[in-house]
């Protein structure tokens, strides 16, 4: 359990949120020209690393807005929170 700072509502407990997977995966511009392998790469393959990861989360039981966080998956420490469409504040 950890606290997430929703960019709209402020600090809330993790159980109010749902995780939405890795962030900044862009949809291929021409899906029909991709091979099955390339499409599967886009659709299913995720880094899922131990360490600092860019993720999408949604405040399901609050404002219902999506946003991004940068989280260390090994200790759940959140390094930054930023809104959809914004650039990651740290690299």
């Amino acid at each position: 359990m950890f606290i997430i700072h929703c960019p709209y509502c402020g600090e809330r407990e993790q159980s109010e949120f749902k995780a939405g997977g890795e962030a900044h995966i862009s949809r291929p511009k021409q899906p029909s020209e991709l091979s099955d392998d390339q499409w599967a790469e886009y659709l299913f393959m995720r880094k899922n690393i131990k360490g600092v990861q860019y993720e999408r989360w949604v405040h399901t039981h609050g404002c219902r807005k999506w946003f991004n966080i940068i989280r260390d998956t090994s200790n759940d420490q959140i390094q930054a929170v930023y809104k959809m469409g914004e650039k990651p504040p740290i690299k």
């Binding site: 402020g10 600090e11 109010e16 609050g62 404002c63």
Partner: protein, 187 residues
């Protein structure tokens, strides 16, 4: 004609805590982003929608709750006529907001049940089933939060010192009310 069947039929009283449903209360969800949307609501209802998160605004007749950067709930402070299913305010907003594509108006009068809680044990009750930190909320009249209570989504507004309005979806209301009674009896 509105055939209102109450999910909650009794008022309950404990030391430091009273619970009851208030109905019928008109409730509307309004959604929109444009500046024209905000000013159209303001002019039509003489009500400024709160733009500060987790707050509310009110006039004599209406209260507006902040739910999200582009979503608010407006409800009537007084109960409406039992025989009527037609709301002037909804009609005005439909004309000024929906028809002009400034935003969306949804009548959720029968979707949400309003439970009123009074007493100095309100927050002791909430603490038995919510992950939300009520420390700031309880000291600021007008505060609003959407959170979880007994695993159920609720909207809670601090309406007065030791008084809150709680909105819950109708299908969960009976269960939530019985949970609150059970929990209140053990405080």
């Amino acid at each position: 004609m509105l055939n209102y069947s109450n999910p909650i039929t009794e008022q309950k009283s404990y030391s430091g805590l009273q619970l009851k449903e208030i109905n019928p209360i008109m409730k509307l969800i309004v959604r929109g982003k444009k500046r024209e949307f905000l000013s159209a609501i303001g002019q039509s209802l003489n009500l400024l929608l709160p733009n500060e998160p987790n707050t509310s605004t009110r006039t004599d007749k209406l209260t507006a709750l902040w739910l999200s950067p582009d979503e608010w709930m407006i409800y009537s402070n007084e109960t409406s006529n039992l025989d009527n299913n037609d709301y002037d305010i909804e009609n005005i907003l439909n004309k000024k907001i929906s028809k002009t594509n400034l935003g969306a108006i949804t009548n959720v009068t029968d979707q949400f049940v309003l439970i009123n809680l009074k007493g100095d044990k309100i927050y002791d009750l909430f603490e038995t089933g919510s992950p939300f930190n009520f420390n700031k909320f309880r000291n600021k009249v007008g505060s609003v939060t959407q959170t979880i209570l007994a695993k159920i989504d609720v909207i809670i507004q601090n309406t007065n010192q030791n008084e809150v309005n709680l909105f819950v979806r109708r299908s969960f209301s009976q269960h939530l009310f019985s949970w609150m009674n059970d929990s209140a009896s053990r405080l």
